[in-house]
């Protein structure tokens, strides 16, 4: 309760009413006698000056009163905050008699209810004080007043008075002339999440705010809500710790709540890679779960990937294609499964499962089902699949129908970090060069590759002048490369693309259109991720068609404002995304609901590389988990709690920090020539040694 703001203060003439007067209906001045009242001046001059009470002669007392609505602030613990100054004649400082809550009695007069403070010394300098009060029980039928009493001549200026409920998170504004609060004081702390606009921050703020209630109400429900937020923040260790506390009360949890609990447990354990523990958990508690169609084998399939037909059904009744390998299913049985009426899997998933499964029999069927999906999403369709049965992946063999229309507009810079992507680079770059949006530049940066990626980049650049080639002196990871390339970009609009992904021909144009028309600052599309043979990856949340953070398209100024990306191997995308969301809100984000990127999910992808993986079963490698947790902690609680230096030091210890290093632009002709010379020299010096893929350098691609 912000006491002062409750009043619309003006220079008020006292309206004599007994020995007092009303200021504006919520505040009252009451005096002990007529003479005291007549020698009293109340001045509210301006909001900045605050409420000034000048008592020139006091025979008894003067009280400043405000009526409180107990229903607004019902709580057993209140906090009163005051900022004020005072003078007593020529003496600096003033002592208030007391601050109290009063209640009206049967005779309609006021009597003591609860003392907040007494003999409160105010200095001539601004004084702040906070008092916590354990409250007696309020009675809803009675009037309550906050009262501040003075009984000696002097001047008091109140600039901020607040009454807050510690339990109900209600702060009733009693009087505030300026934005003084705990949050705005230099010396005090306020977590960024309290004012953050991102949906996830808001969710955490909400669940934090409910903490005080938790002890009195449904504590288990609160703990599970907290767990859900922790999972969304990818803080799996936190999630597990909370769930351990809940498990102690497992016997007393209702069946429905237990099912909720179990889902959170399984999600957490999957992320942590605790499969054995998850299986034991389900065997122990299966009787307490309220899952439909629950069978041990079905539950087991959550963890064990048993390829039984019933594994398609999660205990919840939903389809579980997240945790099983569709490739292990016979197409005939899948067909029977897909036509079942009781499966509410949605048309999109039905198409993708069909493509994934029947594609093994015939790529024509794969194209048929994929095109059904692409048509549904109003995307360009696949015109042809190269019948050449080479060892190349399906993505390499796709051809989309030629663009009927081409589009132009401002230059858009597409940044691609390249590391050992010799085999996929051409496919990735050509998919960009064939975009319907023509005015692009493609910035390829070789991240100290040990294969022939640089030469491949250079020969592509020789064929199309929209390509610029750079090389890094040392391997430094995709986010440092991005930071450097943003500086090199000539376009005012920037986007990214991975060196092993294919962009559908309209990707850039559709994102540009959205950028220009939606007002959002970050435009994303979705992607599908494919196996070598066209199989589609579904994830633990049963979704295959997913947001692609790599596809971010934004104005250069956004990167200048919120960048640079952290010098980390993994997770930099998510950190940037959440940072912008918190600052600008959800309206800053627009996601095109189309699979405008086809991503190959190979072992060279960072998200698949052992030690860094974040895979479809929900497992997250420890370094990812640690970074997510630190990242969330800093974003939510601020640099005061966890500084960038502390995070970077931890990343160094985990081996996922990469120092930025120099980058130089490469002339395509020179690069090709120097590469040839270098190879010739190598041949002459010693037998060629294979690197064997054992490099510890940073992989080429960024995150999911």
């Amino acid at each position: 309760m912000d006491l002062l703001n409750n009043s619309r203060f003006q220079n008020l003439q006292p309206k004599i009413d007994s020995f007092g007067f009303s200021l504006d209906g919520s505040w009252f001045i009451e005096c002990s006698d007529q003479e005291t009242l007549e020698n009293l001046t109340v001045n509210t001059q301006s909001k900045k000056a605050g409420l000034i009470i000048r008592a020139e002669k006091v025979n008894g007392w003067v009280r400043l009163l405000q009526k409180i609505d107990p229903s607004e602030i019902f709580s057993h613990t209140l906090e009163f905050y005051m900022m004020a100054t005072g003078m007593s004649g020529d003496d600096p400082g003033y002592t208030l008699d007391w601050i109290e809550l009063l209640k009206s009695n049967e005779n309609n007069s006021l009597e003591h209810f609860c003392r907040i403070a007494s003999e409160v010394d105010l200095r001539i300098e601004e004084t702040t004080a906070t008092y916590r009060v354990a409250m007696p029980t309020f009675n809803s039928g009675i009037g309550y007043y906050l009262a501040i009493q003075m009984s000696s001549p002097g001047i008091v200026l109140f600039s901020d008075l607040r009454l807050s409920s510690l339990v109900a998170n209600k702060r009733l504004p009693l009087f505030a002339t300026r934005q003084h609060s705990f949050a705005s004081s230099q010396a005090t702390y306020s977590a960024p999440l309290i004012n953050a606009k991102g949906e996830l921050s808001k969710a955490l703020e909400r669940v934090n705010r409910q903490a005080a209630f938790a002890a009195m109400e449904n504590e288990v429900k609160w703990l599970l809500n907290y767990t859900e937020v922790a999972l969304r923040l990818e803080c799996y260790e936190v999630s597990l710790a909370i769930l351990q506390h809940v498990e102690e009360r497992a016997e007393n949890i209702s069946v429905d709540t237990f099912s909720w609990f179990a889902v959170l447990v399984l999600t957490t354990l999957r992320a942590l890679g605790e499969e054995e523990k998850a299986r034991r958990f389900m065997f122990r508690y299966c009787n307490q779960m309220n899952f439909k169609n629950m069978k041990l084998v079905t539950l087991n399939s959550l963890i064990m990937n048993n390829h039984q037909e019933q594994d398609y059904v999660l205990p919840s009744g939903e389809l579980n294609f997240a945790l099983m390998d569709l490739r292990g299913i016979q197409p005939e049985s899948l067909l029977k499964f897909l036509v079942r009426d009781d499966l509410n899997i949605g048309e999109e998933n039905r198409m993708l499962i069909s493509a994934s499964t029947f594609g093994r029999i015939d790529l024509g069927l794969w194209r048929f089902h994929m095109n059904n999906f692409l048509k549904l999403k109003e995307c360009p369709t696949i015109a042809e699949i190269d019948p050449n049965k080479s060892k190349r992946s399906v993505l390499h063999r796709l051809k989309f129908a030629p663009n009927a229309n081409s589009h132009n507009g401002p230059l858009i810079s597409i940044i691609m970090s390249v590391f050992n992507a010799e085999s996929t680079l051409k496919m990735a770059v050509q998919s960009l060069l064939q975009q319907s949006y023509r005015n692009i530049e493609v910035l390829l940066c070789d991240d100290a590759c040990t294969d022939d990626s640089l030469a491949a980049a250079c020969s592509l650049a020789q064929e199309d002048q929209r390509i610029r080639v750079f090389r890094s002196i040392r391997n430094q990871g995709p986010y440092n490369i991005r930071n450097a390339m943003i500086g090199e970009a000539r376009g005012d609009i920037i986007t990214f693309h991975d060196a092993d992904d294919m962009a559908l021909p309209t990707r850039i144009f559709e994102q540009y259109q959205a950028y220009m028309s939606t007002g959002a600052q970050m435009i994303f599309c979705k992607w599908l991720r494919f196996r070598f043979d066209g199989g589609i990856f579904f994830f633990a949340d049963q979704v295959a068609h997913r947001l692609s953070l790599v596809s971010l398209m934004a104005g250069k100024e956004l990167f200048e404002r919120f960048g640079p990306y952290r010098s980390v191997l993994c997770g930099g995308d998510s950190e940037f995304y959440e940072k912008v969301r918190d600052a600008l809100g959800e309206q800053a984000v627009y996601v095109i609901d189309k699979p405008l990127v086809f991503a190959s999910w190979s072992s060279t992808s960072l998200t698949r590389m052992p030690g860094y993986e974040s895979n479809e079963t929900g497992y997250r490698a420890p370094v990812r988990r640690s970074f997510s947790q630190m990242n969330s902690m800093q974003r939510m609680l601020g640099n005061d709690v966890l500084s960038d230096d502390e995070i970077d030091a931890a990343l160094v210890n985990m081996g996922v920090y990469r120092s930025p290093s120099a980058i130089e632009e490469v002339h395509p002709d020179l690069a090709v020539v120097s590469r040839v010379i270098e190879q010739e020299l190598k041949k002459n010096r010693k037998p060629k040694q294979k690197n064997g893929g054992k490099t510890k350098s940073a992989p080429t691609t960024t995150e999911s």
Partner: protein, 240 residues
Amino acid sequence: MNIINIATFSQRKDQIKATAQSLSHQADLINIVFNDYLKVPDWILEFPNIQGLLPERNIKDEGKFMVEIQADDMVMLCDDDIIYPPDYVATMISQWQKYAAAEAIVGVHGIIYPDFFDGRPESRQVFEFRFKLGSPRTVSQLGTGTVVCKGYQMPDYEWMEGAAGYVDVRFARHALSKGYPLICIERDDHWLQQQDTQENLYQSANGKWEKDVIKEIMEIAGFLRMKPIGRIVGSSDCIL
């Protein structure tokens, strides 16, 4: 020896006597640190087991930690505005013994700071000492007006120095660093009663949530740092 430590100041002169009376038959020695008193009040002469101490300067609630304690002493840290029930010390010692194997420290007023504690008072889970708690809980922090531990579990005064106003946080950090779980015990409503005080002893420090305090709180915050009770006593057959 059972020892009670209390810190008070002159504005609590009425309350401290009542508090002392409520505890006087429950301990071998009651140390009361009289902050900002010119002399130790005469009334303590009525209680042969009360020792009054005058610190050289106002050390506020740090006073609870200034008296040297033997490792085997049983120490009760109490507040000067609480009326303790006649069975307080016996109950608390019995509760401490219940968790002795885990070297837990027990108390009546407990706070859990969630892992993403945002600095707001309402973002804490508080098991207030005046109210019933049906089952014991491990907590991030115990209010040092309701704490019982062994002498060896007490922090040095040097550790507590500079924490006036937030000794509970500093004490919790000590416990965490030593591996002593903090357990808030079960009890009924109003087992302990708060006296009507005119002023909060440590008002300025309690309400401000200064950044430095938050930093200390963050060191103890989180379920990650608290084992559930079952794991502490080793009786849990929980799977997680």
